[in-house]
């Protein structure tokens, strides 16, 4: 320590200070220091408390000029010096005077460093921390444990639980595009603390997905939000011990011809025979013939509204029961 100030006085103080600020934050990033260290460095260099807040993620890091952590979640003073870190996160220097070049540079470099850390940690968490994902979805875990896991994962304010066909789970920010490729049931977008409920809904939705092939026609992704009363129907069917006659009838139709299930699925989801034939890529008269063939095995007409609804319900129940096996 005896030589720390060596030649300090000889240098241009302003240029030296700027260089020190830049080098300081670069070195922190290089050694993979965390947010606490970055906010602490900002406070120390600016000589006032510094605060980073990311409200959707319930993240507040506040450090005094001497390095003491002093978390507070009161409203920031609009007069403080501030810089955006991400769309949600902001960094403040808790002082209201007109910033000198030193403070402005501290704020700018610290915000950039915090942005890099957030990008690094958030890109990593959702894919590499299965234990935290499991915990945040676990209805039997305590609320505190789930909230801790949620903050470790850096979850946004609204998030979907996603149940995948391989039995694993994922989390998806609200508004993100549907998963591509995987067969997935999506729970409703909820606050992180409510994720166990979203996951239960996601697993039910997963039971209504299909491979999307001729043997297993149907949607690969199902949103629990769109199920409405169908969710009630599936849960009710789960309590019935005996085989459901309409599902048995569908099974018989399915084995009667290789095209039967795909044709029924297309017709149930289309507004007309012509639409169904377009979706299937066959002539509409062929579809008419196939529907007649299928009706013979089903035992009810599917050309009127009531019959088509019955077919739709039977298809849903068949998928849900198959997944439950």
């Amino acid at each position: 320590m005896d030589v720390l100030a060596l030649r300090l006085n000889a240098l241009d103080p302003e240029a030296a200070a700027a260089l020190r600020v830049v080098t300081h934050f670069d070195a922190l990033l290089e050694s993979r220091a965390g947010l606490q260290s970055i906010v602490s460095a900002a406070a120390a260099l600016a000589g006032c408390p510094a605060r980073l807040a990311d409200p959707p993620r319930r993240l507040v890091v506040r450090v005094l000029a001497d390095g003491a952590a002093a978390g507070r979640d009161d409203e920031p003073d609009p007069a403080w010096l501030s810089a955006p870190v991400t769309t949600d996160a902001t960094l403040w220097l808790e002082r209201t005077d007109v910033p000198g070049p030193m403070e402005a540079m501290v704020l700018e470099r610290a915000a950039a460093a915090a942005r890099a850390v957030l990008g690094r940690t958030r890109a990593r968490h959702p894919t590499t921390d299965p234990a935290s994902i499991e915990l945040v979805l676990d209805a039997t875990a305590s609320r505190d444990d789930r909230l801790t896991a949620a903050s470790r994962l850096g979850l946004p304010a609204a998030v979907h639980a996603v149940a995948l066909a391989d039995g694993t789970a994922r989390l998806m920010p609200a508004g993100a595009p549907d998963p591509v490729g995987a067969r997935a049931g999506l729970g409703p977008a909820v606050a992180p603390v409510d994720l166990p409920g979203s996951y239960a809904a996601a697993r039910l939705a997963l039971r209504l997905t299909a491979e999307g092939t001729a043997d297993d026609p149907g949607p690969r992704v199902v949103h629990a939000d769109c199920l409405g009363a169908l969710a009630l129907l599936v849960r009710a069917a789960d309590t019935v011990a005996e085989p459901i006659p309409d599902v048995g009838a569908l099974d018989r139709a399915a084995v009667s011809a290789p095209w039967a299930l795909a044709t029924l699925e297309a017709f149930a989801g289309a507004s007309s025979v012509r639409d169904a034939s377009r979706a299937l890529g066959v002539h509409h008269s062929t579809v008419q013939d196939r529907l007649g063939h299928a009706e013979a095995h089903l035992g009810w007409s599917i050309r009127d509204q009531a019959g088509r609804l019955r077919l739709q319900l039977a298809l849903v129940l068949r998928r849900s029961l198959r997944r439950a096996e």
Partner: protein, 338 residues
Amino acid sequence: MAPTSVPTAPDTTGTPGTAAPPPPFDPECGAALAAVGELVSPSMLPEQIPAVRAATATFGVEMPDFLETDFDVQTRSAPGPAGAPEISLLIALPRAATTTAPVIYWIHSGGMVMGDNRTGLAEVLGYARDLHAAVVSVEYRLAPEHPHPAPVEDCYEGLRWTVEHAGELGVSPDRVLVAGVSAGGGLAAAVALLARDRGGPALAGQMLLCPMLDDRNDTVSSQQMAGLGVWDRTSNDTGWRALLGDARGGPDVSPYAAPARASDLSGLPPAFVDVGSAETFRDEDVAYATAIWQAGGVAELHVWPGGFHGYPLLAPHAQVSRATVAARRDWLRRLLAP
């Protein structure tokens, strides 16, 4: 019958050129060090002593704003060693003391060649304020103008005067500890040895903060940190050569100059030793605490990961610096508890 095993200190002597890479700096400390970059040279050569003295004359000597309000500050002169000039003592007596105050006898840093009795005083005044302790800071003569034994004898004489004048100062002669950082830590350890061997004064403790103890300058840590951080083995060689001349590293160095040379560390007051893992002094400081234990003594040792020499001053906001300072304060509180 199992053979009797004799405890030996870990071998900390390195062979030049074979040391493994150094431990990484603590991220926060390392960033602060990087930020001063070229301004701090790890290595000081003898011919650079005057320039470094001039450049650092104002470093670390700022007095805290509570000095005048919380302390009665005096400057007193103590007789020097035989034939030597008087010794100036900066004395801060706590105004809030309700009982006779304990004394922290402070020996400043500066590699034996620089600094004055205000260097680093702010930190120890902070501890003294919390603990209602007095601080006496000694202005000892510096090498190379005044080689060994001038610095350590000045420190010892100043201590003797302080204890003899305890009644006049209103402090407790039974609760005096020596404390110092870097070269001051080495001198504090040496004063504790002198006090033991000359039959007084009795000391309550010795606080050795990253102390400079071993003139041989050949430990693994001294080699790992060559050219890195603050006060590397080149600087260390400069400091020891200033103090000991060509005797440095030789067979005849006194333990009162380099306490690591002491063969008997029994009968010493409780020691506090701290050091960073990324500094020249790491191995000699760990070895000193170890030798105290092996002699049946009391020592508390803290090795702070990634700390370079003097990191609590350069990066006071770093978490490891705060933990370091908290441990120092906590030890003083326990030692001086009435």
